[in-house]
């Protein structure tokens, strides 16, 4: 099998050990970094589709994502910053006052798996920290998560801070978490809402203008 085809297969298999080795070999035999990146992303797209139809599961998708990123690390030095942005850049975090991590981490990993350049700001992220991250990483999307009803107002505050900094028009805002509803998302002027980690990827791809992909049914 062609080494590029094998890279694709290893990503699909979630083989974190041998994907980077294969990428190294592909470089050695003369493939350029962009071609190799295409193989990695292509494998990950196949994983996304398998997951969408119910043939693969989140732990497997995330493991494939780790395999893909292991490969990306090898070719990173030969790529430009705009190359590694892939589908787009995302600044993600749990909002101020909220220390709940797992839902946000799941979305973060799923977005990475789908080929986004994700900057995870962790928990208890203030509006100013979101704003700074958008600037630094030229983010296309800000993704905010909350589990506590009491911390929901910080989502609105973050949007206000982005407006004041003159960044609101250049970035899409998506929100999620158990207490968040589509009505609430509309009321604070967010661009998108995802009810769970699974649908967040679909929403993010829509927000960066990717062709719409059906939600899981």
């Amino acid at each position: 099998m062609d080494v590029l085809q094998r890279i694709r297969e290893k990503v699909i298999a979630g083989d974190r050990g041998s994907t980077p080795d294969l990428v190294q070999r592909a470089l050695t035999v003369g493939h350029d970094a962009h071609t190799i990146m295409d193989a990695l992303v292509n494998g990950m797209d196949a994983v996304g589709e398998e997951w969408r139809v119910g043939n693969m599961f989140i732990p497997e998708v995330l493991t494939s994502a780790e395999a893909m990123h292991g490969g990306m690390d090898i070719i990173q030095p030969q790529l430009t910053a705009s190359d590694t942005r892939l589908r787009g850049s995302v600044a993600i975090g749990t909002v101020q006052g909220d220390l709940h991590d797992i839902g946000k981490s799941l979305v973060s990993m799923m977005l990475q798996g789908a080929g986004f350049d994700v900057h995870d700001l962790g928990v208890n992220t203030s509006p100013e920290e979101f704003m700074e991250a958008v600037k630094t990483h030229e983010a296309d999307i800000v993704a905010m998560s909350a589990l506590l009803t009491t911390t929901l107002p910080y989502m609105r505050d973050t949007i206000l801070v982005l407006e004041e900094a003159g960044l609101r028009d250049s970035v899409k805002v998506m929100v999620g978490g158990a207490p968040v509803t589509p009505e609430f998302a509309d009321s604070i002027g967010a661009d998108g809402y995802a009810p769970d980690g699974s649908t967040a990827v679909t929403k993010a791809r829509e927000l960066v203008g990717e062709p719409g992909q059906a939600t899981r049914t």
Binding site: G14, F57, I58, P59, T63, M109, P195, D196
Partner: protein, 507 residues
């Protein structure tokens, strides 16, 4: 030593003392009161074996030693063959349970219109196809189309089931005479009697008539399948308060006497004959007069029966599982079916029967058959117990990940997320907004959709056309015999199950 790390869940509803009392009083009834057996050959073999037989009144009284001797001959292990050997099953005391759909009713809920009607031939094919496809339905059982010639219906049913399923087949014959033709069909499919004896792909149900009677057709069935050791699901259907004592213990006692009679006849005539202890119980509803099946007390009696079979007689049992009184697959149905499926499994039943029905065993519902596939998966998971090993404890994973961190892509998660948990095939697992955007489908909608999908996709390995022709020839011979009047309904005109159902219907 994986056994040592898992406690197989179990439950007992009868004490040792209670069991012994039931056994002792059963023997006393058999010896002193006796039972009526309206079947000449049975009376002859029982008389030869030392029973006290009155040929005039057909009353038979059993000396204890005759019964005890026969109990020693009952196998603790029953093999169910299947057209595809991978579906062969073994029902064994202490072993895992198997399942079959409901058999014996007359109504069918149409998959598309969801309207009730009498069963038709196309429903039989649909039902068998679903049962053949569903993973947690281990063998198939007959349903009874209204649009067939009643005299030879059993024979034609078996012919269709052989065509549409590769799993083991159980038929509840409505005539004694048709069974000969059924046996011929099985011999044709399995290529002779030796293979049938080794792994019979047919089993039959036959029943006592409570209280303490046996009808001729029921024993005709036994004597027809006996020489080939085709397994019998030995049944009785007493109604507490009507055809059995009102109490749980009294029902157990009388049903056990009826089981012991069936066992004694079978083992006297055909030593070593495979039998399933398959007593049922209904409860007279003191207000409507109906014989009910979905009550908690039904579950308790069935579970006690499973315990009697395993602990007193070391023979496998077949108990009603997800059986309910509700007219539709509603909450009542779900609650009753859950109780009835789970508790007998915990009490050691080897077959959980009666999947996919509503209305106390009178009506089949293909949607519920699909839902019961999920219910049985849950019961199976529970019966697997909690496996405690170094691998499942995952201490190394905890050390790798915690404090903080997450397990999403840890190898321990990858190794166990599929095997440790079961995934229901027709259940909602969404948040509300996603659920609403998917048309707010209920569990029943999902099961209906799954049924449609299975019916559209499932393929059964076809029978050799020559063999099919042979089966058709056998069925035609049965039709000819019926037309000539040499194949007739035996006394009773049907199985006890249908008598009970008719009795309910008339109320």
């Amino acid at each position: 030593m994986p056994e040592a790390t898992v406690l197989k869940p179990s439950l007992r509803l009868l004490s040792d003392e209670g069991l012994q009392k039931i056994h002792a009083q059963s023997l006393e009834i058999l010896q002193t009161l006796g039972v009526n057996i309206n079947h000449r050959r049975s009376l002859e073999v029982l008389s030869d074996a030392g029973a006290d037989v009155d040929m005039e009144t057909t009353r038979v009284r059993f000396p204890n030693e005759v019964v005890e001797h026969c109990l020693k001959l009952v196998p603790g292990r029953v093999v169910y063959g299947a057209r595809e050997p991978e579906h062969d099953l073994v029902a064994e005391v202490g072993g895992d349970f198997h399942t079959r759909p409901m058999t014996g009713g007359e109504g069918y809920i149409d998959l598309e219109t969801r309207e009730w009607r009498k069963v038709r031939t196309k429903d039989l094919i649909e039902w068998v196809t679903l049962a053949d496809a569903l993973k947690n339905v281990d063998y198939v059982a007959s349903i009874y189309p209204d649009d067939m010639n009643l005299d030879t219906r059993d024979v034609h049913i078996l012919r269709l089931m052989l065509e549409h399923s590769v799993k083991h087949i159980e038929v509840q014959p409505y005539t004694g005479a048709g069974v000969e033709y059924m046996v011929e069909m099985i011999k044709a499919v399995q290529g002779g009697t030796e293979e049938v004896k080794k792994r019979p792909l047919l089993s039959v149900l036959t029943s006592a008539l409570a209280p303490l009677q046996f009808l001729p057709y029921a024993l005709d069935i036994l004597f027809t399948v006996g020489p080939l050791h085709i397994p019998i699901e030995l049944n009785t259907m007493p109604i507490a308060g009507a055809t059995a004592p009102m109490t749980l213990a009294g029902t157990l006692l009388q049903a056990n006497v009826e089981m012991l009679v069936g066992i004694t006849i079978a083992q006297t005539a055909f030593p070593g004959m495979p039998l399933m202890y398959a007593a049922r119980n209904l409860i007279l509803d003191a207000w409507t007069g109906l014989g009910l099946m979905g009550r908690v007390e039904n579950t308790m009696v069935a579970s006690g029966m499973a315990q009697i079979a395993a602990e007193l007689y070391h023979m496998p049992s077949n108990m009603f599982g997800p059986v309910a009184d509700s007219m539709v697959g509603d909450t009542q149905s779900a609650v009753e079916r859950s109780f009835r499926a789970l508790v007998p499994a915990l009490c050691g039943a080897n077959v959980i029967a009666g999947l996919g029905h509503v209305e106390h065993c009178y009506t089949y519902d293909p949607v519920l058959l699909v839902q019961d596939d999920d219910l049985i998966a849950m019961v199976r998971r529970l019966m697997r117990g909690i496996e405690v090993t170094d691998a499942t404890l995952g201490m190394e994973a905890i050390k790798r990940v915690a404090p903080g961190g997450n397990y999403l892509t840890d190898e321990h998660t990858l190794n166990h997320f599929k095997t440790e948990y079961i995934t229901p095939q027709a259940a909602n697992r969404w948040v509300r907004n996603v659920w609403k955007s998917n048309a707010s489908l209920t569990a029943a909608d999902l099961a209906q959709e799954r049924a449609r999908k299975i019916l559209g996709e499932h393929e059964v390995e076809p029978l050799d056309p020559k063999l099919l022709a042979e089966l058709d020839t056998i069925a035609a011979a049965a039709d000819k015999a019926a037309a000539e009047g040499s194949l007739t309904h035996a006394h009773g005109g049907g199985s006890i199950g249908s008598l009970v159902a008719t009795y309910n219907k008339g109320k």
